[in-house]
Symmetry: C2
Subunit: 132 residues, 2 copies
DNA sequence: CTAAGGTTCGTACCCGGGTACGGAGTCAAG
DNA sequence: CTTGACTCCGTACCCGGGTACGAACCTTAG
């Protein structure tokens, strides 16, 4: 019976990330570096896999790596209101970005539309609008 | 009537950008570098100001610097359909980003909501949902 | 025991869009 | 003619999130 512990390569495969990504997270302080008997290969327990997955899911929710680290730190303990605050700031940011993009979308749609109505061999209304 | 020409600093101020930004655009090939009599200060005509403004407005519409360059190149001539294509690709990209962000927004809203209903001294539903 | 392939570590590089620094040259006012 | 402000140019650095490389170890199958 083997208590499951992985080498970086196996951990990476299991988590669906690149080995280099794991090392990057370690450098960033997001993932602890397991102690190794000197001159041997490091072993990663399931804990590391869980942490990795936590980071990946945080990213899917739009959190930055620093926020992921913060949320993980809060996961031990009752930092719910703090975690919630992080999420609310992220949400506000996401909403601001959506609004910005929506404005851009509007303008682009309008310009593309005018472009399509444009008779051939006449100046491009899109380029014109930008140049003005 | 004197034709106006600027030094980089004045051009930058007029366009509301940093001097370094102008140099950066020059390195990128977005803005030509005016010839100068050797060992003297370069002079920038209103053309440069117009180009700078074109770039800035392109950016406001979500175009990358490379796309801005492409659009500028097309502004001399009848490249309307090409320009339109660039804009359509940009629009598609913007719409994809909006959709991605909207999904994130949904999830975050749900999680933040659950977080607020959470009685004190119980595990955080937000953190829980990520850790799963 | 040896060879192949995995791991470790440092370091450098990628993207996009700039910002910052610093020495040397130039220009204009006093 | 000097002083101070501005310009020129190369180079390095910032952010975020990684990717890539290479040399030297370690491990494991045959």
């Amino acid at each position: 019976m083997r208590e499951e512990s992985y080498t970086v390569g196996r951990l990476a495969k299991k988590a669906g990330v690149n080995v280099e990504t794991i090392r990057y997270y370690q450098r960033r302080g997001l993932l602890p570096i397991p102690a190794s008997l000197p001159g041997s290969v490091r072993r990663y327990s399931v804990k590391y896999l869980e942490r990795l997955r936590f980071i990946k899911r945080s990213q899917q929710l739009g959190f930055t790596l620093d926020e992921a680290a913060e949320l993980m730190a809060l996961s031990e303990g009752y930092g719910c209101s703090v975690a919630c605050g992080v999420a609310e700031r992220r949400l506000a940011d996401v909403e601001r970005k959506i609004a910005d993009l929506a404005a851009i979308q509007q303008s682009l749609r309008r310009l593309v539309g005018r472009c399509h109505e444009n008779p051939p061999e006449t100046p491009c209304p899109l380029v014109d609008a930008i140049a003005n």
